[in-house]
Amino acid sequence: MVSEDELANMSPEQLQELQKQNCIFCHIISGKVASKKIYEDDKVLAILDINPANPGHILLLIKEHYQIMPQIPDDEISHIFMVAKAISHACLKALKAQGTNIFIANGMIAGQKAPHFMLHIIPRANVDEIKIFDLPEKDIPDDMSEQINAGLTNKINELFGIKTEEPIIFDKKPEKIGSKAEKGIDENKKLQKKEELVKEVNKKRINKKKTNKEENISIDLDKISNFIIENEPKK
């Protein structure tokens, strides 16, 4: 159908268009492919999964074509979760389920099978013998989780636009280490060091922002092509 060279030369918009044409769930949403519709509004569509984990397994689709969650704007994310809550409630009432699992797979490695973002709602019963949603427990080394904690907190603060006041930490450190006498002698040197540190941190911040943007684009393109290559042999 489309050669790899052609794929490489396509603009992101063209690639998305091509994906929409190949996407089975976009066909379901437009009505070209039949499905058992449970709920529909202007943003989302809920259908019954034809390969259900349990009777009543529902796929909640966003009508717009998105592959993964980070691409979806906030208002659509919050809408799909509110609908998921209502449908979960419907499962409890209509199917007399004893619980529900709401599940999202983001990326092929996470078990996503189609390049269209969806949310699974699976009614559960005590005796249904589905064990995949019982999470195991593992021992994670403390220093490792501390590292993760620091890294994620910084990034999330950046995403939410919360400013962290790092210079304060630099001011505190010398006081703890040096005595008062040392301070008088080395004050100039320490001040210089401080300035250098602040400069370095600022440089790193700027570099980080740049690289993040570049990474974003490259990750998306890789995924787009991966999905298409994966999809083609099936057809």
Partner: protein, 177 residues
Amino acid sequence: MNQKNNCEFCQIVNKEKDAKKIFEDEKALAILSPNPCCAGHILVMPKEHFSIIEQVPDYLIAHLSKITNKISIAIFEVLQAKGTNMLIQNGVAAGQKSNHFMIHIIPRKENDGFDFQWQPKQLNEEQMSTIELKLKEETKGIGDFEKEEKKPVMLDKKIEKIDKEENYLVKQLNRIP
């Protein structure tokens, strides 16, 4: 009340118990799981105690989902994850272990030992149709989502404004010789 007092996560919210916090605002809290299933396993929860998703108000769900999305972006970039799984266990039958509602975020990498694949169950056309009809009946009412009551905030702002106006007037009075 008993449920709240014994709840491990309410204790974390109230700072009676330590946890590695990732994000916090007035309504929500995100922490590294105290019982992780992998490195970087994150829990996003409302600060108020709810057992299941049906009890959580719509606007709070919306708020939590936005935070979840932002955290999943951060996971992709910081932990170099190749994918993420989000999971809500709603009810003991669904694997829920704590009675505080939460959203699990699980970073995924190649060969990490997780398998969220289910064995498809075979249902005949008739069974599918009855499920469809039953569910459709219950989803008719979906659409009116609860919005957060913003009245208290409005009142606070008005009071501030009045205060400022009064101060302004008082100042003006002082200026008159």
